[in-house]
């Protein structure tokens, strides 16, 4: 069984190394500030051997986005869920340099949800064509006017 590490414990550990990064933690996930995300991710990868990035998900909560990172350690078989909030026009730091597996997933999110990742080597639309207007997975997207 993959053991989910206690988010509050993780939050404490992160707090010791990167102060002000963690904003909150609930029973599932650790919430971090988006600016500190990259540092936190690197810290987790190096110190907790979270070498496997299972999935990145973005959820549109109307006033902000929530980006969810499911991190797993193949060696120790434990996992951490990292959540970040980012504003509608905010950019997120890309984690491609830490986990190559983020490459297509971040492009996926950029294309469909419209969150830009700074530092991504090849950030462009992945499924939709270049002239497509808007980002369909946003809740305020409507198909009228989507065609160019």
């Amino acid at each position: 069984m993959t053991e989910p590490l206690s988010p509050s414990e993780i939050a404490k550990q992160i707090g010791e190394h990167i102060p002000d990064a963690v904003t909150d933690s609930d029973e599932n996930a650790v919430f971090v500030r988006s600016e500190a995300l990259f540092d936190v991710a690197r810290f987790l990868k190096q110190n907790l051997d979270l070498d496997y990035l299972s999935a990145i998900t973005a959820v549109d909560f109307l006033e902000h986005f929530e980006v969810v990172y499911q991190l797993t350690s193949i060696e120790h078989n434990h996992s951490v869920v990292l959540k970040t909030r980012c504003g509608k026009d905010e950019k997120m730091p890309s984690v491609v340099s830490l986990w190559q597996g983020a490459d297509l997933q971040e492009r996926d999110i950029f294309d469909l949800m419209g969150i830009a990742f700074s530092g991504h080597p090849n950030l462009k639309r992945i499924f939709l064509w270049d002239g497509f207007k808007g980002h369909p997975l946003r809740k305020d997207w409507s198909k009228d006017g989507a065609q160019d």
């Binding site: 299972s54 999935a55 078989n77 190559q100």
Partner: protein, 367 residues
């Protein structure tokens, strides 16, 4: 002495016999050697993640069939697991076992297809493909018997499965499971030692273990690189912790290992199905679930080991009958992350073989 040559750009796909659907690779060649490769996605994008937000939780199940259409059962499975996690629904024992049987049969069927198509990519004249299709057909017969369809099963339901199995199912399954190892043996005779196959696949497109992990590769591809990581073992879902099976791992992570791991996994799957048949308890197959399910506010991520890798569903509920967010962690897409790195420096024919060994289903890649 190096000849000065002019690179040629060739588009493979979206219509090409061996891109396994409408996938496109923009490849730059120097002679026959690949110097640049860019995958182009999206020709089969249907926006299922968006569509699902307008469906009830049950109505989404037929849509999951249409993600990885070669492994619909696995998709159903992962999705209902996620919903059950979200809504905290108990599933009857018998249904759990039926799900496992179906998922493992699906794995065999999908791997048969993957290996058969892979040999077509290597240039075999459809013979392995036809042999493997023959066995896949038997599995589809079984699925048809259970749920009435041969491709888009829509078999699993939130809280169980749609039907109990018919009387004739277990004997027919028994025969299949008895015969299957013999057929796998035959595939090995036909292919495993063939010198041309070895020459074409050994050492080609090597994916080292650390790179595979770093690139979030999953499934047979990850295991071929020598990482013993199988979600059925690492994070057992349903009743997988009750079965005895092995996780085959490759040595080098080359194209041959990816083929070899799939063949071995078929063997292991027959073992699992056999055990599941023996342990199959009697009882209900579907627990009582309200017709209009309104899971409590929150989110859930459930992942399974689908034939192609870690298939995950991330669901967010806002206590309405429809998922607020429906996200698929598509193993086919993420496994393509390393396609470029694997192919660079290899020849045109190798790129086709490498793509075949990754085993993608475009409906899942593009969603």
């Amino acid at each position: 002495m190096a000849l000065k040559t002019e690179p040629v750009m060739i588009n493979f796909g979206p219509q090409h016999p061996s891109t396994h659907g409408v996938f496109r690779m923009r490849v730059t060649f120097d002679g026959e050697v690949i110097v640049e490769l860019e995958p182009v996605f999206g020709y089969l994008h249907r926006g299922i993640e968006k569509l699902a937000e307008a469906k009830t939780y049950t109505q989404v199940i037929p849509y999951t069939d249409r993600l990885d259409y070669l492994a619909s059962m696995s998709n159903n499975f992962a999705y209902v697991l996620a919903v059950e996690k979200l809504a905290e629904i108990e599933v009857p024992e018998r249904a759990q076992y039926l799900r496992v049987i179906m998922a493992e049969l699906m794995r065999i069927a999908s791997h048969l297809m993957a290996v058969g198509a892979f040999f077509n990519d290597l240039g075999a004249f459809f013979t392995p493909f036809m042999y493997m299709f023959r066995e896949r057909e038997k599995i589809l017969d079984l699925f048809e018997m259970v749920c009435g369809q041969r491709l888009t099963y829509n078999y699993m339901r939130i809280g169980g499965v749609s039907h109990d199995i018919p009387e004739r199912f277990l004997p027919a399954l028994m025969r299949f499971i008895d015969e299957m190892p013999g057929f796998i043996e035959e595939y090995d005779w036909l292919l495993a030692e063939n010198e041309i196959v070895l020459a074409r696949t050994k050492g080609v497109g090597v994916l080292p273990a650390d790179k595979a992990i770093n690139a979030s590769i999953s499934g047979p591809m990850l295991r071929a690189s020598g990482v013993k990581w199988d979600i059925r073992r690492a994070d057992p879902y349903s009743v997988y912790d009750r079965f005895d099976f092995e996780t085959p791992v490759g040595l080098r992570g080359d194209t041959y290992d990816r083929y070899w791991v799939r063949i071995q996994e078929m063997r292991q799957s027959t073992h699992i199905v056999k055990q599941a048949m023996q342990q199959l308890p009697a009882g209900e197959v579907r627990s009582k679930v309200p017709a209009t399910l309104r899971p409590p506010k929150g989110e859930a991520y459930a992942h399974i080991e689908s034939p192609r890798g870690e298939l995950g569903f991330y669901l967010v509920s806002d206590n309405s009958p429809r998922p607020y967010r429906f996200k698929v962690r598509a193993p086919s897409l993420i496994n393509l992350t390393v396609l470029r790195d694997l192919c660079l420096g290899w020849k045109l024919a190798d790129a086709i073989a490498i793509l075949g060994s990754i085993d993608i289903v475009l409906a899942e890649v593009d969603r």
